[in-house]
């Protein structure tokens, strides 16, 4: 990955993480009480950890996007987006997570 593609990866990672978290798009699920990973949901295995799966979804999808974007387009990217988009993602996440404090 060259520099522009790394920037696209980082920008997209947060966006896709937010979508994966909001829509429960975990690549896999981990059930800590039985120490098992599963692709699909198993409600009889106790509590579930989706966080690992959300990170995996985000990493794979943002890497795919970073490679798919044409190099000429990636090189024209304004550097400011590298921090503006992640900041917007954090703000959106914090607004959504207000639900814990009301």
């Amino acid at each position: 990955m060259n520099g522009s593609r790394l920037t696209i990866f980082s920008m997209m990672f947060g966006v896709i993480y937010l979508v994966a978290f909001y829509y429960d798009l975990a690549l896999f699920r981990y059930y800590p009480e039985v120490s098992e990973f599963h692709w699909l949901r198993h409600d009889n295995l106790g509590v579930v950890i989706l966080w690992y799966g959300w990170i995996a979804t985000s990493a794979l999808a943002s890497a795919a996007i970073a490679f798919a974007v044409p190099k000429s387009l990636a090189d024209r990217l304004w550097p400011g987006w590298a921090w503006i988009i992640p900041t917007a993602v954090v703000v959106a996440m914090l607004i959504y997570e207000r639900r814990w404090f009301v």
Binding site: M1, G3, L6, T7, F9, S10, M11, F13, G14, Y17, F21, Y30, P32, E33, S35, G46, V47, I49, W51, Y52, W54, I55, S58, A59, S62, P79, G80, A82, W83, P86, T87, V89, V90, M93, L94, E97, R99, W100, F101
Partner: protein, 157 residues
């Protein structure tokens, strides 16, 4: 074993907190004091910020990995206890912590890249704001981690 891992995780977090705070303050734009005297803050800021980049990337990744290994224990033992005692806000701040760490992991490549590129007006702002974002993630995670680790002692019984 879990206690050893928890202590290692905390020690890594302390090192990360120090490194990112040095770097975050070093990119602040502050005019030098008129009398030319260096305060504690000036000395704290006056570091070779570029040299911190790779250690911060490594420490962030390793500390996050430690947190990921500890997470099942939290999910099985701590979180249900917090839910039983109606500590909804404690679960909320931890949920935010896990999101910030995940988003931070994704930011590491571009953060590293902007610190590796030659200094220039185009890259100065992204470098500064990415550093501050990571610093916010690290401070939030550090404080939340310690509060939750000690929550039984902090709450009235």
């Amino acid at each position: 074993m879990i206690v050893v891992l928890l202590i290692l995780h905390a020690l890594m977090a302390v090192a990360l907190l120090g490194a990112i705070t040095h770097q975050a303050l070093s990119v602040l734009r502050i005019s030098p004091a008129a009398n030319g005297r260096w305060t504690f803050i000036d000395r704290f800021r006056g570091v070779d910020a570029t040299a911190y980049t790779t250690p911060i990337v490594v420490l962030f990744a390793v500390t996050a990995l430690g947190g990921a290994l500890l997470y099942p224990q939290y999910r099985v033992d701590v979180r249900p206890a917090l839910e039983d005692t109606q500590n909804v806000a404690a679960n909320g701040v931890f949920e935010i912590k896990e999101h910030l760490v995940a988003i931070g992991l994704g930011l590491l490549p571009s953060y590293w890249l902007f610190w590796r590129r030659p200094n220039g007006p185009e890259t100065a702002a992204p470098r500064r704001y990415l550093t501050w974002l990571l610093a916010f993630f690290v401070w939030w995670s550090f404080i939340v981690g310690h509060v939750l680790n000690n929550i039984r002692g902090l709450l009235p019984s």
